[in-house]
Amino acid sequence: MSREILLQARDVSKSFGAVRVLHEVSFDVYRGEVLGILGPNGAGKTTLFNMISGDIKPSGGDIRLGEIALRGEPPFKRCRMGIGRTYQIPRPYSGMTTFENLLVAAAFGGGRSESDAYAFCAQVLTDCELADKANTSSGSLTLLDRKRLELARALASDPKLLLLDEIAGGLTEEESRSLVALVRRIRDRGVTIVWIEHVLHALMAVADRLMVLNFGEKIAEGLPQEVIANPEVKRVYMGVEA
């Protein structure tokens, strides 16, 4: 694996008033890898994603995509720079069809002309098994299909860095396995992935490294087996006393 750093976070902190959500978290994401992020609810995982994608501003610290400092860059520019993301609670454009949802991402995030985006989006729909729902109103999709749509829409923006926020939640084991295979193929295509997930076996199957957050602080980072064996991680995340 190449060790070129694609995303660099240094001492990233976030507070909402007196509530400290993240405290001086630092980590690197290497180009081409899958970094899994674990942590109990309220650990600050989604807040970290929101700061990377620009939805919220950090209270302190620095985030860089390659050599570019992201501070002050609005979300739409970060997307055009190559940061794609999904949301934990799907946010489809419910007044549009599934296909049109992807067109927005391909045309604006991916910078494609609309006619170029047609075939590209059709392919992404096929990849994410939404082709038969291409012309269905996204507001009427099932939860599973909404999660697929989140992933498909993020892919349609042709990201260099893909932020996946709990996309396996609510899926059956078979569906999770298929999703892992899909994530692996996206990685093999050269897309770097950071994946927040509670479905541990899905994450373990594809992640090159894991990072664990607890109460806004990084408590472990490293190879998946090493991190899972970490007594602090066992105590915090799995409730197992060492």
């Binding site: 970060r78 697929r148 042709d158």
Partner: protein, 348 residues
């Protein structure tokens, strides 16, 4: 989920053969009817009496203002109750240009549109910091400020207002021809222009922004700029309606130029006809126009009925009349959907 091979997205040969259908049969029929309506508007002097032209002009102004409000509230999520600010500003600009500076009034209408366009910029810079109801209140305050400024400017003849005496230089036929052409142009620009915009890639972005601005921004849509563009365009569209309406009235004063009734009318038309649809604006405008002709004599009680209708629709039929129709029958007079069709046999 079953495993499906993921094609390398950057390699064109792997992409499926697809086509996208944009038009529908009802859309084609409606397009022909729309163009015929525009031609009929332009040709009014040859088939309509002066009184009819005045009434149609009023209807066209309702349609234009309501469609601009529809673009603001129905698509951009900007609920304004102060678009009359730009109607009045353009109306006054027309009167000053034509009456004070001697510019040809029919040319002055178009020059006057620069005024709402320029005024909308600082207004938006101020208002965009406000959210939801605060934005709405802010737009109303801006309109009131405009009215008070106009009421106190000697240059605009203050509260007494101005008359467009230069129109006496033109014959009735000339005025009717000009008014008819302006009606056609106003409908072409506001309805045709909105349709063209909604069918463009920016229309996609606009609907995405309406449905979920946070997600739209994270998919590359420049939400603040799009909102700004819509606000300016709506100011110009309302300005055109205001200038044409004032020209037809031949007189302008602050209460009529900045009449908040225009905001009420636009809200009624869009809510009852169907928000976020051009069809709804056309239906709502016709309803209001007919209701105004038939029941306007009843004054306050008539407005109460209109208000109750709006509340009823907001509570029980949020899509308005057109929303109910399109839910029952899958027809679209102004289709903006993109229907994907796989051409190859490999389609799953």
């Amino acid at each position: 989920m079953t495993s499906v091979p993921l094609s390398p997205v950057s390699h064109a040969p792997a992409l499926p053969q697809v086509m996208v259908r944009r038009q529908t049969a009802s859309g084609r029929i409606a397009m022909v009817l729309f163009l015929l309506a525009v031609v009929a508007l332009a040709a009014m002097p040859w088939w309509a009496k002066t009184g009819t032209i005045r009434m149609v002009l009023e209807l066209c102004c309702y349609i234009a203002v309501a469609q601009m409000w529809n673009m603001l509230a129905g698509y951009a999520g900007l609920v304004s109750v102060g678009q009359q600010a730009f109607m009045g500003a353009a109306g006054y600009a027309l009167f000053v240009l034509a009456q004070t500076f001697g510019v040809n009034p029919f040319l002055a209408i178009f020059i006057a549109l620069l005024v709402p366009a320029f005024l909308a910029v600082p207004c938006y810079m101020l208002l965009h910091r406000l959210d939801g109801p605060y934005f709405a209140i802010g737009t109303w305050v801006v309109a009131e400020v405009f009215r008070l400024v106009a009421s106190n400017m000697g240059f605009l003849n203050a509260g007494a207002g101005m008359s467009l005496n230069v129109m006496k230089e033109y014959s009735l036929l000339e005025r009717n021809i000009a008014m008819s052409l302006l009606c056609a142009l106003m409908i072409l620009l506001t309805i045709g222009g909105s349709y063209w915009f909604l069918r463009s890639r920016y229309g996609l972005a606009l609907i995405a922004m309406r449905d979920n601005p946070v997600a739209a921004a994270s998919q590359g849509v420049n939400v603040p700029r799009l909102r700004f563009m819509i606000y300016i365009a709506a100011a110009v569209g309302c300005g055109l309606a205001g200038a044409v309406y004032s020209m037809a009235q031949l007189r302008i004063n602050p209460p009529s130029a900045f009449d908040p009734m225009w905001a009420n009318v636009a809200i009624f038309i869009v809510m009852v006809g169907g928000i976020a649809s051009i069809e709804g604006v056309l239906i709502g405008s016709l309803i209001y126009f007919i209701a105004d002709r038939w029941f306007g004599q009843y004054g306050a009680s008539y407005f109460v009925v209109l208000g109750v209708m709006t509340v009823f629709v907001a509570l029980y039929a949020r899509g308005g009349i057109w929303g109910a129709v399109s839910k029952r029958w899958d027809v679209h007079w102004f289709p903006i959907r993109r229907h994907l069709i796989y051409k190859t046999e490999e389609r799953p």
